[in-house]
Symmetry: C2
Amino acid sequence: MKVNAALAGLKVLDFSRVYAGPYCTMLLGDLGAEVIKIENRIMGDDTRAFYPIKNGESGYFNYLNRSKKSLTLDLKSEKGKAIALELAKWADIVVENFSPGTIGRLGLGYEDIKKVNLEIIYVSISGFGQTGPYRNKAAYDGVAQAMGGMTYMTGLPDGPPVKAGPAISDAATGVHAAMGILAAQYYKNQTGKGQYIDIALMDTVFSILENSVSIHTLLGLDPLRIGNANPSSAPYNMYKSKDSYIVIATANDSLFSRLCKVMDQEELITEPFFNTNPNRKTNQAEIDAIVNEWTQQYTSKELEKMLDDVGVPVASVKTIAELAQDPHIQHREMLVTHYNPNVGCVRYPGNPLKLSETPADTSRRAPLLGEHSTEILASKLHLSVQDIEKLREENVI
Amino acid sequence: MKVNAALAGLKVLDFSRVYAGPYCTMLLGDLGAEVIKIENRIMGDDTRAFYPIKNGESGYFNYLNRSKKSLTLDLKSEKGKAIALELAKWADIVVENFSPGTIGRLGLGYEDIKKVNLEIIYVSISGFGQTGPYRNKAAYDGVAQAMGGMTYMTGLPDGPPVKAGPAISDAATGVHAAMGILAAQYYKNQTGKGQYIDIALMDTVFSILENSVSIHTLLGLDPLRIGNANPSSAPYNMYKSKDSYIVIATANDSLFSRLCKVMDQEELITEPFFNTNPNRKTNQAEIDAIVNEWTQQYTSKELEKMLDDVGVPVASVKTIAELAQDPHIQHREMLVTHYNPNVGCVRYPGNPLKLSETPADTSRRAPLLGEHSTEILASKLHLSVQDIEKLREENVI
């Protein structure tokens, strides 16, 4: 059976590198858009050299660049720029995440592309956006998380602020950008008009702080880090198990009685210090200590089973190694295997969008550097083999 | 000048509550989709009672539900269900995030809706998805972060795992869902076909772990928490300032020399322990201690200025109160003011998508409970004032 692709026919010219832009275009590519990734002809995307690396292949790069074709191009050469402009005529969408101003200096900014393709949807992703006082600040994820409020809100109450471990400002911005692109494409389908989209890591981080901002703007308070605890319920925290940690989320009285029964401490249900959620929250240290003493007698796996069985919300703190073997991750097809000639078969995270009619196609591994240069120049720009060889000799591709 | 909306004409019937679904439909509403939010007629969306609250208005709810209309409906009554089905005929898209199976038992699952609207795009958001061994686990953000690997990767190396403070599994899943909806809508524009989308918090978390998964799948290692440090560069960490904390990201030798000059310790540039990035990483504790001693002499603001001036990547760990006054946040229109009759003017985070031709419209505050019930039933279902009054008396709306 032929499987349909949601975004079949959508054409993306991708100048982006590292994380936010590549995550955006991977999501589009998985759903069927044709993505041509332009890479520096010497080293390619910076992440081709990012940890982890084996036999010269980076796991960082190979996860984030599946479903794309790679064309190497020296954008500083006249011929390279001319090829990029020709491809911009072909494209529906351009994505870039250089620091603000850089791509304009290469002659490939929105105004330049619009001259050759009036209907283009052009997306610039950056740390702080194309405008505003911080626009020229260096844009690392750790910087964006700190500047956007995520770091301040993460960590234990008695410890320093800590950023979310993985670079979530990049991933979150990438998927917001993909959503913005498809909204702009919806508009273009109705009106024929393209447009420019400016999206910033700091803005995105600031918009995913849950209730943190409104605690300040509504009540005038400065919200504080609460680690793994919950602002209104207890016992609702992370506890030590015999072998690791366990999250137990006792959000109401009914769940608390079930927990007490499993702990074989039913007397706590009616104990005046703990008999209501507000009382337990007031005496959080005490009830957390009782739960913590109990959890340390069992492994995380044992605790998870005991509490799952009675419907008390519980989670092992899964390690990455555990997740790689996790039956649910497997069932959800959240690990996909790619064969790469240099490292053989390696598994990478799959696509979280499960569409019934047009499932994401995560089968196409990330390209080798310039793997599709010849194919793209021949099929999109109708260059001859001789023309392409000449470009190669001239170090354009 | 009339401002255009990217998603003008797109019709969304929204059964979702709490965070992931409402964030998804807010993004769609901001860009011009018409969103009808169905709420329980007694209490409405659970988050109407979530912290922070002032004069009965929740900042949690009011941030996440702008750009929507509220219709109260008793979905367990026959008449309420009939109204929901009529609205499903009107809609292009249905969004729900009950626990798996719940909305099907109400007679409003995908199969039910498809009978009255074959082309519907129907999105179910849940903690673990509609299928798989964990599908019935309770879906709190803290549970999803722990089960998906984010918690394991977050926190200081010598401390316990910590979840990202705000509920990022919800926000990330919400925006992925919005992206999936618009991809399905693109397909529907081409083919006329609708479909079902199943998206899970755990899957989404697992897909935004940066290189964590491939460290394991490519190298066989279990990646570890590194707090605010960087796996390959030093000094690249969070340091104490006189008044707070500061992030300094010295990613290469050139940035390190600039940092040394600002610290007035130029001798470190050629010091054999620190003269290359690998050497500094090997002696990270020593170089971090030197930087930390220097940073404690200045306020975060002073440090940020000194290092910005010479182009060394730096970030204050902004508090929420600071961000509420931040000139860049203001310039980027990332705080928007809503007037609500019960609490007056309150500011909430804006929309991070800056589209030139169809800017997000963030001006429409979240609705009061059932604020648009009459309007929706009259305009969409052509009910008379008497019919609507009767529904109200019968506790259907």
